[in-house]
């Protein structure tokens, strides 16, 4: 039987959105869609992961997206950073991202910030944000996001990739281990090989987690690290716990 949500959707989401979200409203209802609309997101990075994250969050109707990146688009980015096109070469990635996202979904608010995320500006960048999406490419910058998430008590959706491999987990301050509990040491710096499809897998998992978090559906990747091995075609998980020796949270989420 076909259900008609049109009148209510028109009232709550605006006529411009009539029909846009019909397929996902089947999953989490008008109420869930309204929650996405009122969610404010910081996407840290507009590279390979950030591209996949931003595309799917914009299309899903997360209401306010602030995307931050300090780099400009280079030719070697275009194999995977699908927010950017040939014509964007030399432009700031954040501004290129803005154009792509506004094109996908003009009903949401997008804010582009051309800055490097640092200790000095992270508080300002997170002003008003309900969650952090990890699209960074190094552990020092991820530790910065982790500290900010702990301080503000907002979730951090972690993802990282290299070549055919990737990982993802969901950090909820006070309820789960933090990123430093899981990865107490940063790996040695190196340029990671990358294909767009791996960024797509991991970025999509991060967005799925964010949707589940906002709509209250399913089982989040809390204290679970999902590991994707594209060469093997294998997805696995390992569990982890808050660490009482963690330098950042001292096992804050242990008893929750």
């Amino acid at each position: 039987m076909k259900e008609d949500y049109s009148s209510m959707r028109g009232e709550m989401l605006g006529d411009g959105n009539r029909g846009r979200y019909a397929r996902q409203i089947l999953l989490f209802g008008e109420e869930g869609q309204k929650k996405l609309k009122s969610t404010r997101v910081l996407i840290a990075g507009a590279g390979g992961l950030g591209s996949a994250i931003a595309f799917y969050m914009a299309a899903a109707g997360f209401g306010r997206i602030r995307i931050v990146d300090c780099d400009v688009v280079e030719l070697s980015n275009l194999n995977r950073q699908i927010l950017h096109a040939q014509a964007d070469l030399g432009r700031a990635k954040a501004l290129s991202a803005y154009d792509s996202l506004a094109g996908i979904n003009p009903e949401i608010e997008v804010e582009a910030v051309v800055e490097r995320i640092s200790e000095e500006n992270v508080d300002d960048l997170l002003q008003g944000c309900d969650m952090i999406m990890d699209g960074m490419d190094s552990f020092p910058s991820r530790y910065l996001l982790n500290r900010a998430a702990l301080k503000r008590a907002i979730p951090l959706f972690h993802g990282a990739i290299s070549g055919y491999q990737g990982q993802a987990t969901t950090i909820i301050p006070g309820k789960t281990a933090c990123l430093s509990c899981l990865f107490p040491r940063a790996p040695p710096p190196a340029t990671a090989p990358a294909i767009g499809s791996t960024c797509g897998v991991i970025g999509s998992i991060e967005v799925t987690e964010a949707i589940k978090y906002v709509t209250g559906k399913g089982r989040l990747l809390k204290n679970r690290l999902m590991l994707w091995d594209g060469l093997e075609g294998c997805l696995e998980e390992v569990s982890y716990e808050p660490s009482p020796y963690c330098r950042e949270c001292r096992g804050l989420g242990r008893d929750a």
Partner: protein
């Protein structure tokens, strides 16, 4: 001990209880590049393993 290596291969290792960091080093792996799950749960590398424990050595990634 059954050990799952970062490349997906498996090894059976017969050795006495030892710190996981030592086991990893003895396998020729830099402990700074991996995290280790003992019997399905990630543990600090100063924890020990031996006997019938199962270790999974994961080379975590950092790119974006």
């Amino acid at each position: 001990m059954l050990i799952s290596m970062p490349d997906g291969s498996r090894r059976v290792l017969s050795r006495s209880e030892a710190r996981i960091e030592e086991i990893v080093k003895d396998l020729g792996i830099n402990p700074e590049e991996v995290i280790v799950a003992k019997n399905g749960r990630i543990v600090p590398d100063d924890e020990t393993a031996g006997g019938s424990d199962q270790l999974k050595i994961v080379r975590f990634v950092h790119g974006g």
